[in-house]
C-alpha cells in the first residue's frame, strides 16, 4: 500500500499517527455528529474522542477506540486539537466515499503537534490525496457532569423503533417531551416510555410498552417528564440512522443522554453519545 511507504523519518516528527484501511469507518461516525463546524479531537492511548457542541446545550461525542485503527501511535498521554469538521469530512470523502464492496479509501492521519495542521493521506486505486487541515485553538468542551450514578431512568431500544418514531414526529413542534415512568400513569395506555410533540396541528404521542420486542432494557426509578428543544435533538437522528441500539437515559436534573451503538463496515463496535439539556420551564401538563 503506497501509504505505508511514507518514509520513517517523517513519521518520527509526528506525535500522532493513525491509519485505517477503510476511511468510512471514521467518516461515518463523524457524519453522525456533524451538526456544527468545529470539532474538538481528544486523543489518548485508548483512542480518539471527537466532540461537537451547539448553543452550550447539546454536545455530541464520537468515540473511536484505538483498536479500530490498524495503526495507532501516540507519543503523548493527551493530544487535543480542533478542526473544521465539514472540511475534514469533505477530505475523508474526497474519492466519493464509495460504498461498493471491494473499493475503500485507505487513510493515514498524522499530527505533528500544536500549531501544525492535521495531515491526511488518502489512497484509493493508486491515487493519493494529501490534505492539510489547519488546526484551531481547542475550546474546552462543556462538562455535562452526567454520571451513571445519578441516572434516574434508562431504556435501551433497538434503533429501528426509535428511528420510526423520529420519522413520524411532528417537526412543527418546538419541543419533544419525553416521559419515562415505572408505573402506569395514564388511563388508556400502559405508557412507560412516551414521546410527545405539541405542534401547530395538535399534539402527538408515541409510546412504547415495556413488553415491546424493541425494548431491550427498561429501568425506571421514578416518573420523569422533560422537554427538550427539537432543534437540538434533530441532529441526533444522523447517529440514530447509523446505529443498531440506542440507550436513552435521564438523570435527576433531567439531562438527557443518548448513547448509540454503531457497528462499522468491519463489524466493529463504536459509540456515539449525545447530551442535551432539558428546557427550563417544565410545567406540569394537566
Amino acid at each position: 500500500m503506497p501509504l505505508s511507504t511514507q518514509s520513517q523519518g517523517e513519521d518520527e516528527q509526528y506525535i500522532l499517527v493513525t491509519s485505517l484501511d477503510n476511511a468510512r469507518n471514521l467518516s461515518n461516525l463523524l457524519k453522525a455528529i456533524s451538526f456544527k463546524d468545529h470539532a474538538v479531537f481528544t486523543t489518548t492511548p485508548n483512542g480518539l474522542k471527537v466532540t461537537v457542541e451547539d448553543c452550550k446545550c447539546v454536545q455530541a461525542n464520537a468515540f473511536i477506540q484505538a483498536d479500530i485503527f490498524q495503526e495507532f501511535t501516540i507519543k503523548e498521554d493527551l493530544i487535543t486539537f480542533q478542526v473544521n469538521l465539514t472540511v475534514l469530512l469533505d477530505c475523508l470523502n474526497i474519492f466519493g466515499g464509495s460504498t461498493s464492496a471491494g473499493i475503500s479509501t485507505a487513510l493515514r492521519m498524522c499530527y505533528k503537534g500544536y500549531g501544525y495542521p492535521l495531515t491526511l493521506f488518502l489512497e484509493e486505486g493508486g491515487v493519493v490525496t494529501v490534505c492539510k487541515i489547519n488546526t484551531e485553538e481547542p475550546e474546552e468542551p462543556i462538562d455535562f457532569d452526567f454520571c451513571s450514578s445519578n441516572v434516574t431512568n434508562k431504556v435501551i431500544l433497538q434503533s429501528e423503533s426509535l428511528k420510526e418514531a423520529f420519522s413520524e414526529l411532528d417537526l412543527t413542534s418546538e419541543m419533544l417531551q419525553i416521559t419515562m415512568s415505572p408505573s402506569q400513569p395514564f388511563i388508556y395506555h400502559r405508557c412507560l416510555f412516551l414521546l410527545s410533540t405539541f405542534g401547530s396541528s395538535g399534539s402527538a404521542h408515541y409510546d412504547y410498552s415495556k413488553d415491546s420486542d424493541m425494548m431491550e432494557l427498561f429501568r425506571c426509578k421514578e416518573t420523569q417528564t422533560n422537554r427538550y428543544k427539537m432543534s437540538l435533538l434533530k441532529p441526533s437522528t444522523k447517529a440514530l440512522t447509523l446505529s443498531c441500539k440506542v440507550s436513552v437515559r435521564t438523570d435527576s436534573r433531567g439531562f438527557l443522554s443518548l448513547q448509540y451503538l454503531v457497528r462499522n463496515d468491519d463489524g466493529q463496535i463504536c459509540f456515539v453519545e449525545y447530551f442535551c439539556c432539558p428546557d427550563e420551564e417544565v410545567e406540569e401538563d394537566s
Partner: protein, 315 residues
C-alpha cells in the same frame, strides 16, 4: 437554406440524445453548425460565459440515416443556428423509443428545429409527436466567430485519469474552494490542488501517460495503438498546428522540457466541474493540454464524436 435529417436506429438516437445532453450540461446556448458531412456545436470564449469555449464535432453519417442540407449559398454551404441545447435535449428525451425521428429546420412563428417522432402504436394509425425548438439563424457576417479553435501551443499534454474519479475529487474540492490548480508534467503525473485558509488538498495522479503529438512531415498525429477513427479525428482537429510555428515549438518544447517540471493553470472550479458532470459515457480517449498559466484544453474522443473544451486561467 434547408435542413432535414432522419434517424431510424434506436442506438443512434440514444447516442445523439446523450451527446446533446452532454452539451446542455456545458452551456445554456451554443451555435449549431451544419455542413454536408458534420454537425458542430460551438461555444466561443466570451467574457459572459467565463471565457470558456467548446467545440464538439459529430459525423452526421454516424447518426443520421438521411441527411439533406442546403447552406446559405453554394459557396458557403453551411447553416449556423443558435440553439438552446437543453430544449433540444428535452425534445429528444421524450422520443427515445420512437420508430424514427426527423429533425427539420422549419419556419413557424420563428425559425425552429422541428423534431418529429413517429412513435410505436398498436393500431395501424401511427402516432407522431412534434417538438418545435426555436432557434436563431446566425447571419453569415458572424460566422467567423465560430471557427474551430486552434490547438494551443501547450507545455504539457497528458491523458486524464478516469473521469469518474476526477469528478468525485473535483466535487469535494468544490465544497472547499472556488479555484483549483491543475498541474501536470511530461512524466505522466497530474495534480489537482486547492488551497484555502482552512485546508490545502492535493490529489496526485500518476502513470497517466503523455500523448506524443509527434511532429511528422504531415499533420500532427496522435499515435493511437489500435486502428480507430480517433486518429482521423485528431488529425483533422489540429490542422492549425501542422504548418505553423506552433508545431515546431511544440515538438521542441516537449523534447527539451524537463519531464518533472509541472505546467499549471488555476481555473474556476465550477467550469471544470461542469465539464465532468456532463460526461455521460466514458470516452475512448480523454486528455488535456496545459498551457502554463494560460489555458486548459480538454479533449474527449468517442468513436464518432469529439469534444474540446477550453477553460481559461484565472489570476
Amino acid at each position: 437554406m434547408k435542413f432535414r435529417g432522419k434517424i431510424i436506429d434506436v442506438a443512434c438516437l440514444n447516442h445523439f440524445s446523450r451527446v446533446i445532453t452532454t452539451i446542455s450540461k456545458l452551456t445554456k446556448t451554443c451555435v449549431m453548425r451544419l455542413t454536408p458531412d458534420n454537425l458542430f456545436f460551438v461555444l466561443s470564449g466570451k467574457v459572459t460565459n467565463g471565457g470558456v469555449s467548446m467545440w464538439c464535432e459529430l459525423h452526421q453519417a454516424n447518426f443520421f440515416d438521411e441527411f439533406q442540407m442546403e447552406g446559405v449559398s453554394s459557396e458557403f454551404n453551411e447553416i449556423c443556428l443558435e440553439v438552446t441545447p437543453e430544449n433540444l435535449s428535452r425534445a429528444l428525451k421524450t422520443v427515445q423509443n420512437a420508430k424514427s425521428v426527423k429533425v427539420k429546420l422549419t419556419k413557424k412563428h420563428c425559425p425552429c428545429l422541428t423534431v418529429a417522432a413517429e412513435l410505436p402504436s398498436l393500431s395501424s394509425n401511427s402516432r407522431v409527436v412534434t417538438h418545435d425548438v426555436p432557434v436563431e439563424v446566425v447571419p453569415r457576417s458572424l460566422w467567423h466567430e465560430f471557427k474551430e479553435p486552434s490547438m494551443p501551443d501547450f507545455d504539457v499534454s497528458i491523458y486524464l485519469p478516469p473521469l469518474k474519479t476526477m469528478k468525485n475529487v473535483v466535487d469535494r474540492m468544490k465544497n472547499l474552494s472556488n479555484f483549483l490548480v491543475m498541474e501536470a508534467n511530461l512524466s505522466g503525473e497530474m495534480n489537482l490542488k486547492i488551497e484555502t485558509d482552512l485546508v490545502s488538498v492535493t490529489t496526485h495522479f500518476k502513470d497517466l501517460g503523455n500523448p506524443s503529438w509527434g511532429k511528422t512531415s504531415g499533420p500532427i498525429r496522435l499515435p493511437v495503438p489500435q486502428i480507430n477513427p480517433n486518429v482521423v479525428e485528431v488529425t483533422r482537429m489540429t490542422p492549425h498546428v501542422s504548418t505553423g510555428d506552433a508545431a515546431s515549438q511544440d515538438g521542441g518544447a516537449s523534447q527539451s522540457r524537463d519531464p518533472e517540471a509541472m505546467a499549471e493553470v488555476r481555473v474556476d472550479i465550477r467550469k471544470l466541474q461542469q465539464f465532468l458532470v456532463g460526461q455521460q459515457v466514458n470516452p475512448s480517449k480523454a486528455m488535456c493540454n496545459i498551457v502554463h498559466q494560460s489555458v486548459v484544453h480538454l479533449i474527449l474522443l468517442h468513436d464518432d464524436v469529439s469534444l474540446q473544451y477550453f477553460i481559461p486561467a484565472v489570476a
